[in-house]
Symmetry: C2
Subunit: 253 residues, 2 copies
Amino acid sequence: MTTITGPQSDHDRYDPAAYPRFAVTVDVVILTLADGALQILLVQRGQEPFAGMWAVPGGFKLPNETLGEAARRELVEETGVDAAVLMQLGAYGDPGRDPRMNVVTVAHLAVLRELGSLAAGTDATAAGLFPVSDVVGRRIELAFDHQRIVRDAVERVRSDLESTRLATAFVGPTFTLSELRAVYEAVWEVELDGANFRRSVTSEEGWVVPTGKRAVPGGEGGKPPELFRAGKAWKYGSPIRRPRARQRRRAKR
Amino acid sequence: MTTITGPQSDHDRYDPAAYPRFAVTVDVVILTLADGALQILLVQRGQEPFAGMWAVPGGFKLPNETLGEAARRELVEETGVDAAVLMQLGAYGDPGRDPRMNVVTVAHLAVLRELGSLAAGTDATAAGLFPVSDVVGRRIELAFDHQRIVRDAVERVRSDLESTRLATAFVGPTFTLSELRAVYEAVWEVELDGANFRRSVTSEEGWVVPTGKRAVPGGEGGKPPELFRAGKAWKYGSPIRRPRARQRRRAKR
DNA sequence: GGCGGTATTGGTCGACATGACTCAAAGGGC
DNA sequence: GCCCTTTGAGTCATGTCGACCAATACCGCC
């Protein structure tokens, strides 16, 4: 290696206690699928600042828990659901993002299967499920910089769908390929061919594994579909490729 | 939408001033290419904790700057170079990661072209360029949780190389395709066919644009190569695909 | 039960991308 | 001039992907 003398890191240049203090919070963008569209769980703020506005659920990090544990705690508080994919999105710490004090928030992304009943708590403040398109399209104004956080979260989901097993987090422990395909179609807002979709996901080893069982057809009939469960590996070579150029918007029907 | 009553976010449940305070730092993983391998800039700590150990350069975030500005400030302090790709990696806040106090650090990734001379500063503490393989392979022990941060950074570079223009950050403003290919070969530790590489990068619109000029051949002779510069778009459809299964390790010679 | 409708599932076909390879072009060094 | 190098253009076989067709197995209804 080459060693040179250079400016020392100021990690330890001065008295650490003299450095500015921040509050650290975790925010959790909770996404799920409902009515064939990507939906986000928002809570209504009860206090200033931004009282009455909708916001991404979150809370303060405690010193004796990791960031991931804090995020999972928030998730369980809001939904009562523990079984969910939870990953870190990034940190947001622009000056003045919270007028009360210096706050750095670490945004997380949680993906749940359709949550039938939100855990009704005791507090009077409302929580609601909104289409993300209403947030991204600015039809709903969010508190703090949460609009940007949600935009980043949606972009992350769209991107990760292509290279990871994330889609299986939107569906139950066992699922049909139609359900899985519906995830891609809703998040990417495209229409995918069922036959080609099956060929892609089943050809990749360990992506979905057949259970041998079959589901009962829905109200509209059809052949009883096979039930699959998710494989073990998280990353994949090329599970489903996102249509790049000409995005066929949902055509017929 | 569906509105229910649920637990209120504890963003505003109690007195904000009563919540735990953290120090927020930014760490910058500075990567470059040297001797045909990926290298990382490390600094030697002068104080406890971890005095004498190598660490990723970093420093405290100030209240009046963004996280990105803080990271760029650290980058310039260490290298004197401002023109570099800088992106956020993620936040690390495990309890006890800094024995002095509660610290959450936001790690960043900076990619530079080969830095001839590190800006020699005034301080006596050393800085050095190490092969990342020595860090990932635990031949060099790092302070704090910096080993994990570096591992995550390298994984990020390997991954982003495939879908973004990141490779151009390792080379100068104009470059030959051999130089660009050397980036992929060094980071992925594979050998790529020159002809196929050229076909891939030039077929994608706006990925590299020819300047019309030619570089002078190196000491080993050869046809004078074309000079290219980076295109505008950052994300791409399929610039260069990473060899998945059988990774041909550098064979002949 | 028969019939139309729907969703699943297996298969074909052509366009295109990719990997391995060959070969001409254009320089340096001696 | 000869032999070395690297660049850069082209060829060819293989594989992948999108579009499409058809058979299967259920539903609801008459």
